[in-house]
Amino acid sequence: MKASLRIRSIILSIVLFAAFIVVWQLYVQSQTGPAVNMDPEYAKLMGATAKGASAMPGPLEVGKAIWNHIINPFYDNGPNDKGIGIQLAYSLGRVMAGFLLAAVVAIPLGFLIGMSPVFQGALDPFVQILKPVSPLAWMPLALYTIKDSGLSSIFVIFICSIWPMLINTAFGVAGVRREWLNVARTLEVSPLRTAWKVILPAASPTILTGMRISIGIAWLVIVAAEMLVGGTGIGYFVWNEWNNLSITGVISAIFFIGVMGMLLDQILARASHAVAYAE
């Protein structure tokens, strides 16, 4: 029963994908007009427009572009033209740096807030005000104070990934069952040991959920940040293709961003699966 369910959903996935490709192809064909009758020299200067070609690429064209990126991901033709693998590595590096920094700050701070009602009351207003700020709103301030575009984008990742982790950690820590804490207290376990041996394992599923939300947001934000500051990374890659008005390039970049985001999410899903427990 379970297997047939899985097969059925796979078949449905394929059908949906095929339908999408067909609609796409039909749309592109409908946009392609007849060749315009014009002076040959003028036609030459006008390029594809003279042939009545659509500005929107077909699925085949995009597939070819994606394949070309896959077979040659690490070429380096100078500072403004690098392979997709190198660009993804730059973006991933920035996301990881900002994300880990955020984890280092957010998880201990979350413990503090979760364990102490005084701290919770004191820090709550700051968290509530800073949390809803769009991470990109920090960008001009970061550029002005840090004076380095690479570090500024890491800072933006840091500031956007800190809130879900902080709030989830605090929530998970505060939600640890009273009985377990009472048992620890009766056994006269020191507070640090309680945090490490009792609270951390109990709260880790919630903490990991926070981390999973954070990495998702971080991956969303890095593309926008890199489009703003340029230089390197997948966001810059999108901007560079956009600069050439190459829709094919933009669609292939969207594909790679999606695949990468899915991989990041899957890794954290596995991790949270590993720490899950049944009560």
Binding site: M38, D39, E41, Y42, K44, L45, M46, G47, T49, A55, N77, G78, P79, N80, D81, L143, Y144, K147, D148, S149, M227, L228, V229, G230, G231, W239, N240, W242, N243, N244, L245
Partner: protein, 505 residues
């Protein structure tokens, strides 16, 4: 024979004294080897020896050369004292060889024994001749910094800054420059202010605006050279085909690439001359150039005054037509700039000079219309402009499709004159005052002369003796301009501002 001879040719005598090094002159050496005649007999027939070729004729030479050596020694055949750089390079080679071998005989024997190419390879393994030469030829003083980051916005105005990379102009002056593509002028300004860029492609009004602190933190900035003159256009959506008179543009939405740009000032000037108030009758918004074509296609704007290739790109993509080239508004107007902070120049004078020279050299090369097709190919790849070669060629050669079915031929559609006239700065300041970007009294002349380095440009250009139509600096750094029939006198900027009917002051 002598200082200009190729030291890698075993058949050449190079240095004073005799080949074996034991005698003070060739004559003494010959006499000694001939049986010890006394050199004190000046009437000796051996006196004539020096006039005869001391070695076998060049035709019989077994002298072999590597491709590299061919390049240097072909130059050597025509080497004259006028070509100072080549002479200097040759002297370096010669001095290095002298240091290694001591005497001509040792050098020639060694070269004959192992062959020139092997010798060259063996010697360059220990002494990087190329680098020594580059260091001495290019810098005259040591370069404070060789690795530089120069920012550019991907438009054809930046042609000299960009092409200097693939075509080797930076390398020629001993610099290792990375040119970094930048998303727009606000980012370029911020990265320049933060010191990430050592120098950058800017718009001619930007160094003035940064210096006076308009729309930016105030920091002394300089503009050593203008990148390009002309080269912009007003592009309109194809649906406005019939609205050829700006008087019919009431309610139009226009885009310009930056507030402190010639694009903004020229568009304002143009519509104001037609009686429209640019702040009330039309809307002007700032858009990064690559987004202009997409916005025009989506009908978000009716037109724009933007840098190429995005005017030609709108034609190429079949969404717009070229209403007017800016050269028909103000022939020879400045547009983009090569700019650096005053601090960079003060801290790295030699590096700056080398960079300045490579830009001037590249600009002179670009000003020659015969080179434009090669340049289009050099700057089209993804690493640089990332545009179709056809589009760039139409911009740079001036033979282009106008979007209405005509092929036009305007060779000076874009041109490259590096000279930063002070009068250009004064004109820009008058427009900043006119439209309210700066308030109060402006010391036009002082700011212009502080920011636009016309005096330095004059000195360097005179020294460099560049070719091309703009290779020689002009006599005066101030000029009068006629813009749409109205004369601008740089000596009376305030009167000029007050003479306009539509203004914000």
């Amino acid at each position: 024979m002598g200082a200009l001879s190729d030291p890698f040719n075993p058949d050449q005598l190079l240095w004073e004294g005799c080949p074996c090094g034991l005698h003070a002159s060739m004559r003494e050496h010959q006499l000694a080897s001939m049986g010890g005649s006394d050199p004190r007999f000046p009437d000796s027939r051996f006196y004539s020896i020096e006039n005869n070729p001391p070695v076998k004729a060049a035709e019989e030479s077994t002298y072999e050369r590597t491709p590299d050596a061919v390049a240097t020694s072909d130059a050597a055949d025509e080497l004259t004292w006028d070509d100072q750089d080549a002479v200097l390079a040759r002297c370096v080679e010669s001095a290095v060889m002298k240091g290694i071998f001591g005497t001509d005989m040792n050098r020639r024997n060694f070269l004959r024994a192992v062959g020139t190419s092997t010798a060259l390879a063996a010697i360059s393994q220990f002494i990087p001749l190329d680098k020594v030469k580059a260091a001495i030829v290019d810098a005259k003083g040591p370069l404070e910094k060789k690795k530089l980051n120069v920012g550019f916005v991907p438009i054809t105005c930046a042609t000299p800054i960009i092409m200097a990379h693939p075509m080797g102009f930076y390398k020629k002056y001993g610099l290792d420059v990375d040119i970094i593509k930048t998303a727009g002028w606000a980012v370029s300004r911020d990265k320049s202010l933060s010191g990430e860029y050592d120098a950058a492609h800017m718009l001619t009004p930007m160094p003035l605006a940064i210096t006076v602190g308009a729309g930016s933190v105030a920091k002394p900035w300089t503009m050593p050279a203008v990148e390009n003159i002309n080269g912009q256009a007003i592009t309109l959506h194809l649906k406005h085909k019939d609205k050829n008179d700006p008087k019919m543009w009431k309610g139009f939405k226009f885009a310009v690439p930056f507030e402190y740009s010639m694009h903004n000032f020229l568009l304002r000037y143009y519509v104001a001359e037609a009686g429209l108030d640019p702040d009330k009758d039309i809307q002007i918004r700032v858009l990064p150039p690559p987004e202009m074509v997409a916005n025009l296609r989506a009908d978000n704007v009716d037109g724009y005054l933007s840098p190429d290739p995005f005017n030609q790109r709108a034609v190429y993509d079949g969404v717009g037509f070229l209403h007017k080239l800016t050269k028909d508004i103000w022939p020879g107007h400045p547009c983009c700039a090569f700019a650096a902070s005053k601090a960079f120049i003060d801290d790295n004078p030699n590096t700056f000079l080398a960079l300045f020279k490579s830009i001037l050299d590249a600009t002179a090369f670009a000003s020659d219309k015969a080179n434009r097709k090669d340049i289009s190919k050099a700057i089209a790849p993804k690493n640089y402009l990332n545009q179709p070669v056809t589009v760039l060629e139409q911009v740079l050669t001036g033979r282009y499709a106008d979007g209405l079915g005509n092929v036009k031929n305007v060779p000076d559609r874009i041109d490259f004159d590096p000279f930063p006239y002070h009068s250009m700065a004064v004109w820009i300041l008058t427009q900043m005052k006119r439209w309210g970007y700066v308030k109060g009294d402006i010391k036009y002349k002082d700011i212009a002369e502080q920011v636009y380095l016309a005096t330095d440009a004059k000195a360097v250009m005179t020294e460099m003796k560049l070719g091309g139509p703009y290779g020689k600096p002009p006599e005066s750094t101030y000029q009068k301009y006629t813009i749409m029939g109205k004369t601008f006198d740089p000596a009376k900027p305030e009167d000029y501002v007050n003479s306009f009917a539509i203004k914000r002051t």
